[in-house]
């Protein structure tokens, strides 16, 4: 019995001195990426390597960094061979300007916008139906002497919105028209514009457990808050399985490997071990050269590693009174219902800087109906024609730095954050309405808060 007491005694003491939770206010609010945060607010703020990696991993990151910036040229070439012959741009960095977003034009040397295409219906995996002769993405640029699939003409319809306090905002809605198709286009094709998103913080996004994402889902709006986020399940052509999608504007890429390899193949016409056929196979515009895969496995993998290990920029001005007020408003009007402020990543023994981190991506990685104004009308696996994946808001305050001029939303239509918020409809309608009804001071605080991310 005395033994039992002696054994139990420490337990009693431990219960008396139970450790409390680490208080919320003790966390550093600037660490949007946890340990994977970089303190830089210049044009290079999205381009920093995460810390704490082994020397070999740093070497691979730098290799991938170099590759990300390489321009491809027409095969055969001694260096960077294999461009196109049809493509959207010649290098990753051309669209992902300074590892961020770029300019919403199509077909020019600095364009960052591409167009997905499909026919109604679903393929054998529930995904979009390819257009014969065009595929699932338009390649609107070609090497000299070849013809691109089509050219894209972007036009805008302007409108003005007036806040209750009299402040006016100019809105513009884009329209996409195809010209000079190299083949006649079938009737009923669907188009979806996609601006290149930033490529930092992706290792952290990748490390969020599936269970976390699914815990946010509320497809039938059981809690009655107007929000009914749901996951996108997509086909992974490499693993030959249906998997949870989390990358891409409609969460249609299940892994960084698929996202990067898909971009190589579709956006630049570069084949790899993941997608070893040209996007133009069966069409007239192949480069006609038996050089596939055009990049070695190690290079492909180094670029995946590169985007996995880019740090998140630290927040700025976190103690500013207006910004702290804006942060409260963000939650009060329920922007946080989809743009979730705080998530935890799972364990990753290879990359401790990404492992078990408290991060602030401001996304639930789920699909949400955003209303008619933003709809593309083109389903993509589970995502219907009005659904988009919640965009991460970390780094959004630095878009003017990384691209000179900021463009927001999936098609870059918004030039200010106010514009972007005003386009929120569907499940976001309630929050948008509350935003519109804020006082001038409250609205400015909220915008200042977003600019601090």
């Amino acid at each position: 019995m005395w033994v039992a007491v002696l054994v139990c005694a420490p337990g009693v003491f431990m219960m008396c001195n139970k450790p409390g939770d680490f208080a919320e206010e003790n966390f550093d609010p600037r660490l949007s990426g946890g340990a994977a945060t970089a303190f830089d607010a210049t044009s290079k703020s999205f381009s920093h390597m995460i810390e704490g990696m082994k020397a070999w991993d740093e070497h691979i990151h730098e290799l991938g960094d170099g590759q990300f910036e390489q321009s491809f040229v027409t095969a055969p070439a001694p260096v960077n061979s294999g461009l196109g012959a049809i493509f959207n741009n010649v290098s990753c960095i051309s669209c992902h300007h300074n590892d961020g977003k770029g300019t919403p034009t199509a077909g020019a040397v600095n364009s960052s916008l591409l167009i997905r295409i499909s026919l109604p219906g679903q393929d054998e995996h529930g995904g979009p139906v390819a257009v014969p002769g065009f595929g699932l993405q338009l390649q609107d640029v070609s090497v000299f002497g070849k013809q691109p699939e089509a050219r894209v003409n972007i036009s805008y319809t302007e409108s003005t919105f007036t806040f209750p306090d009299g402040v006016q905002v100019n809105l513009r809605k884009p329209d996409y028209a195809l010209t000079n198709p190299y083949l006649p286009l079938p009737a009923g094709y669907m188009l979806s514009p996609r601006m290149a998103p930033p490529v930092f913080g992706l290792g952290l996004i990748e490390a969020i457990p599936e269970s976390t994402i699914l815990s946010f889902a509320d497809e039938n709006d059981a809690d009655g808050d107007g929000i009914s986020g749901r996951p996108n399940y997509v086909w992974n052509g490499y693993t030959q399985k249906m998997e949870l999608g989390r990358f891409g504007l409609k969460a249609n890429a299940p892994s960084l490997q698929i996202q990067v390899a898909g971009a190589y193949q579709q956006d630049m016409g570069i084949t790899s071990y993941v997608f070893s056929n040209e996007s133009s196979v069966g069409q007239g515009q192949g480069d006609g050269y038996a050089d596939d895969p055009e990049i070695p496995d190690s290079i492909m993998n180094s670029v995946v590693f590169y985007v996995r290990t880019l740090a998140v920029p630290a927040r700025r001005n976190v103690t500013d009174v207006a910004i702290m007020a804006g942060e409260k408003i963000f939650t009060q009007i329920n922007c946080s219902g989809c743009h979730k402020p705080t998530l935890y990543t799972g364990v990753n023994t290879n990359l401790p800087t990404l492992s078990n981190q408290r991060i602030h991506p401001y996304t639930d990685l789920l699909l949400h109906d955003m209303g008619e104004g933003l709809a593309d009308g083109r389903p993509d696996f589970t995502a219907n024609g009005q659904e988009w994946r919640t965009m991460a808001l970390w780094g959004i305050g630095l878009f003017p730095k990384t691209n000179g001029t900021a463009f927001y939303l999936h098609d870059g239509r918004a030039r200010t954050l106010e514009e972007a918020i005003l386009w929120h409809g569907g499940e976001a309608e309630k929050s948008r309405e509350k935003f519109v009804q804020l006082t001038t001071t409250e609205r400015n605080s909220l915008i200042s808060f977003l600019k601090s991310l």
Binding site: D40, T42, L83, V109, V143, F144
Partner: protein, 355 residues
């Protein structure tokens, strides 16, 4: 009595020390940090981009002369004009922030590698090859320094004036005019009479500047110095060195690579000192004002890095095989400089440059 005087002196000294630190000395420092920023466009960016445009004009003229009279000495003159223009561009890579990156003047002028297959198709076609045709080409690999370099030197550096074809001459002329136009746009972008990017530095911390604080502007400039240091040491030099592959050396046709690399770091030095052909106030003076040993350390690391290139005497395509130790030494000097900029200069600026 003596004790009272000592005591009183002590009190006076203490009182003097307790006097609030808003002394003329601090106002002078604030003035200095503002002057360094406003000197940068006046002493560095605007005159340098102006010289770049002027050399681009000279290059265009030299190619017109070559086309009119395709002799060896005209070819050599055109090559020299290319090198002279290139030298200024490479030095300007010490400050790759602002319109040069935001409006993509850098890739317009300096995309690499050359697209041989597309160029052959283009030259074999009936495309008129006017300047507007060049500007309408679908890839930047067909514009700028490197296609011009390729035509002037050829793959092995042994191009003969007599073998220049009519198509190549036409293309080359349009390339030089295109380059000149790009340099004009770049020069205009900073000029107060045109794009006036300069005002962002002059008015840093005031409304209308993209830099919300003076510190932000200093950090943008510093990040640009770090960037070029990293790009040279860990990119342009490292990739061919590690792969032992001369095909991935930039500027392979003219054998100009080491000159280019050194000029990048001289450009970094000019940024730090705030000078081009004249010496304005630079970041060095802000540093020296508070920490002379840091300024000395930075200057000596910059000088060491620039001078280390002297030891690499072979063209870089060969040096990656036969002078690997010398290359490593330069990379180490660049790494030491980058480390000092990142871990000494940046914290110094964050600590000391206030609005």
């Amino acid at each position: 009595m003596k004790n009272t005087i000592i005591w009183l002196s002590g009190v006076i000294i203490v009182l003097a020390a307790c006097h609030k630190a808003d002394t003329p000395a601090n106002n002078d420092f604030d003035t200095l940090t503002a002057n360094v920023l406003s000197d940068f466009p006046v002493f560095v960016a605007i005159p340098q981009y102006g010289d770049l445009y002027s050399k681009a004009s000279d290059f265009e003229t030299s190619v017109q002369a070559l086309v009119a009279s395709p002799t060896t000495d005209k070819l050599l003159a055109a090559r020299q004009a290319w090198r002279d223009m290139r030298s200024i561009w490479e030095k300007s890579e010490g400050y790759l922030f602002g319109p040069v990156e935001d409006d993509e003047y850098d890739p317009q002028m300096d995309t690499w590698p050359v697209d041989y297959v597309q160029m052959d198709s283009l030259l074999a076609s009936s495309n008129p090859l006017s300047v507007s045709d060049i500007q309408a080409l679908s890839t930047l690999s067909l514009r700028g320094f490197h296609p011009a370099e390729y035509i002037l030197w050829g793959k092995d550096g042994n191009r003969q004036a007599a073998t220049l074809t009519d198509r190549e001459k036409l293309y080359l002329q349009s390339l030089t005019t295109d380059l000149k136009n790009i340099c004009k746009n770049l020069s205009d972008s900073w000029n107060p009479s045109a794009g006036n990017f300069a005002q962002n530095l002059t008015n840093a911390g005031k409304p209308g500047s993209v830099y919300a604080t003076k510190q932000e502007a200093y950090l943008a400039i510093t990040e640009a110095m770090i960037g070029i240091c990293e790009e040279v040491g860990e990119g342009k030099m490292e990739e061919p060195y590690a792969a032992m592959d001369s095909a991935i050396v930039e500027s392979p046709f003219s054998g100009n690579s080491i000159t280019d690399f050194r000029n990048n770091i001289i450009g970094l030095e000019n940024v730090y000192l705030g000078k081009w052909t004249s010496d304005g106030k630079g970041i060095n003076e802000v540093v020296a004002e508070k920490n002379i040993s840091l300024d000395n350390a930075l200057r000596s690391k910059i000088t060491a890095a620039v001078n280390s290139f002297d030891a690499i005497t072979l063209p870089y395509e060969q040096a990656i095989f036969d002078q690997r130790t010398q290359i490593k030494n330069t990379q180490n000097a660049l790494a030491a400089l980058k480390d000092a900029l990142e871990n000494d200069l940046k914290p110094f600026l964050v600590q000391n440059v206030k609005d």
